[in-house]
Amino acid sequence: MPIDDLTNGLQVILGVKAFFVLFLIFFAIFALILFRQIQLMGRSLPTVINPYLAFVAILHLGVSLALLFVVIGVF
């Protein structure tokens, strides 16, 4: 493979990685705020499914963070 092609390929991968990392940081913040909102709304209006919603929100946040770290480390 010519050296120019290799450099271009690396630049594309780095660009894609930077995009994913940045997007996932914002997405993790979104997931955190959503979790917090569910907690607060659950206090204002407790219903039987609030614990399940909070659980799903934690899972959502956890997967976002996990994916962020995986993308930083592996991608």
């Binding site: 390929g9 594309v12 991968i13 894609v16 994913f20 997007f23 996932l24 997405f27 979104f30 997931a31 705020i33 959503l34 909102q37 569910i38 607060l40 709304m41 206090r43 204002s44 209006l45 407790p46 219903t47 039987v48 499914i49 919603l53 799903v56 929100a57 959502h60 997967v63 976002s64 994916l67 995986v70 993308v71 592996v74 991608f75």
Partner: protein, 193 residues
């Protein structure tokens, strides 16, 4: 007749629901959410986002774009996971937004729980004694077909107008509010019944 369904959009006397600052003896007469039909655009968007990746390889082939070099070593898996995470986040946010946008009619007041976006939460209260006028409004094809619409409640309180948006059976809602307001007027001042 009590309602046990936690996802009900029109729930007379909902079971297992309370709210912050609920007074002793205060009962929830009616819990309302926007009509389920209002979620159709979000459901369609979610379906589109779910099936979208199936068509991406075909489109790339048609456009003669070859990403096999870039998508080696588990990258394709990560990108797919990322896509479905974002799709799930969107669907979950839309559901939570719908679920927590609740209007309550109690035997003492009306309450509007507003959850407008992730950074905006607002709860408004108006006592039934402050209600001056109730105006149900059904507009458009879907509103008429599925029987949902807005109920405008004019009050003498600090917030002059309450708007119950896209709630099912707006006429029945208006009737229930006026009925409770009449009962409240007949009570002695300070009585909770």
């Amino acid at each position: 007749m009590a309602t046990h369904n936690p996802f009900a959009m029109f729930a007379p006397q909902p079971v297992g629901v309370r709210f912050e600052n609920q007074e002793e003896g205060e009962k929830i007469i009616l819990l309302l959410r926007a009509h389920i039909v209002t979620l159709i655009p979000a459901v369609l968007t979610t379906i589109f986002l779910v099936v979208g990746p199936i068509f991406v390889p075909r489109l790339l082939t048609l456009a003669n774009i070859d990403l096999t070099d870039l998508l080696r070593g588990g990258r394709l898996f990560l990108i797919t996971l990322f896509w479905y995470l974002v799709t799930f986040g969107y669907a979950f946010y839309k559901f939570v937004f719908w679920y927590f946008n609740v209007y309550l009619l109690t035997n003492e007041r009306i309450i509007d729980f507003d959850f407008r976006g992730v950074l905006h939460k607002e709860i408004s209260y108006a006592t039934l004694l402050h209600i001056e006028d109730v105006e149900p409004k059904t507009v458009g094809f879907f509103g008429t077909f599925f029987n949902y619409g807005d109920v405008f409640v004019q009050t003498a309180g600090t917030r002059p107008k309450f708007e119950f948006e896209k709630v099912p059976r707006p006429d029945a809602v208006a009737e229930a509010i006026l009925d409770e307001a009449r009962k409240e007027e007949a009570e002695a001042p300070g009585e909770i019944a």
